[in-house]
């Protein structure tokens, strides 16, 4: 990794963690386990488009690991790791088809994140009771995914500007 990449990846991991923390301060607005805005996903979507899958994966993995260590439990680590992994793989595949834009990629990521979480939670709990929340989780994934996708698209368009100039100067 080039120094610039290390610095940028580190910065993005920090940003994702800050967003995770900010989100943990917002009280749950619906009484359904797993429903979140997913602010940290802005960083992952940005990394997927501006950097590559490898960097996005690294950022997502470390974000989940560090956030669970700092603000969560071993259980939340299992849920969020499964959700984050499924979400990132799904987004990457969808992005690679070249058929869809940032918003659709982000929405699929949000829905897959919720599906991964609920599947692991159901497996750990050994009960199908959680699948009652599946429709709510899909709908919330669509809504939050659109918001996150639009914000990410704006960032990808604007933050990228000037990168070439920076590269040229060093």
């Amino acid at each position: 990794m080039k120094t610039r990449e290390i610095a940028e990846t580190g910065l993005l991991i920090t940003l994702a963690m800050v967003l995770s923390y900010v989100e943990s301060l917002i009280p749950a607005f619906v009484a359904i386990p797993g429903i979140k805005v997913g602010l940290a996903n802005i960083v992952v979507v940005y990394a997927l488009y501006r950097l590559d899958f490898k960097h996005a994966f690294l950022i997502s993995l470390l974000r989940v690991l560090l956030s669970a260590l700092l603000f969560g439990t071993v259980l939340t680590l299992a849920y969020s790791a499964a959700g984050a992994f499924l979400s990132l793989v799904g987004m990457s595949i969808l992005k690679r088809t070249g058929l869809f834009g940032t918003t659709a990629v982000s929405v699929s990521g949000a829905v897959l994140h919720n599906l991964g979480q609920i599947a692991v939670a159901a497996a750990l709990l050994g009960t199908g009771a959680l699948f009652y929340y599946l429709p709510f989780l899909i709908i919330s994934g669509v809504v939050t995914g659109v918001v996150i996708g639009l914000v990410s698209a704006m960032l990808i368009r604007r933050v990228g500007k000037g990168r070439e100039d920076c590269n040229g100067s060093d």
Partner: protein, 125 residues
């Protein structure tokens, strides 16, 4: 910019995919609401194995799992009255009454599922 050209051409496909997912979610929700019929029992599960079963037609307050959670049954509905976990999501879920509905407390690994129903007494489900 390349991105902009590509972004424009994907907008309609994006909308189709997003709407498709929304329809799946709403469809599942509708199917569950329409299929909702009053349940007969509240089944309490700890890590997936049944630890208690309370009929919904007997009102009462029940201490679960050695006191981590308290279940209230009143007039055919059930709710989590109290939970020791910090997020209290299961308490905020409120009342459940239809077969298939559930109250889940992830931190305590306890779940309450509504099963059975008037019309399902002689139907295997």
């Amino acid at each position: 910019m390349k991105d902009k050209v590509r972004g424009k051409s994907t907008v309609s496909r994006d909308i189709v995919l997003i709407l498709a997912l929304a329809v799946v979610g709403l469809g599942l929700l509708l199917a569950m609401q329409l299929g909702g019929r009053a349940g007969a029992y509240a089944v309490v599960e700890l890590e997936g194995s049944e630890i208690a079963r309370y009929p919904l037609d007997c009102d009462g307050v029940f201490v679960l799992n050695g006191g981590t959670n308290t279940l209230e049954i009143l007039g055919g509905k059930a709710r989590m009255l109290h939970a020791e976990c910090p997020d209290k999501l299961c308490v905020k879920m409120g009342w459940v009454r239809f077969s298939g509905q559930s109250l889940v407390c992830l931190p305590e690994r306890i779940s309450v599922r509504i099963v059975g129903g008037r019309s399902s007494v002689d139907v295997v489900n």
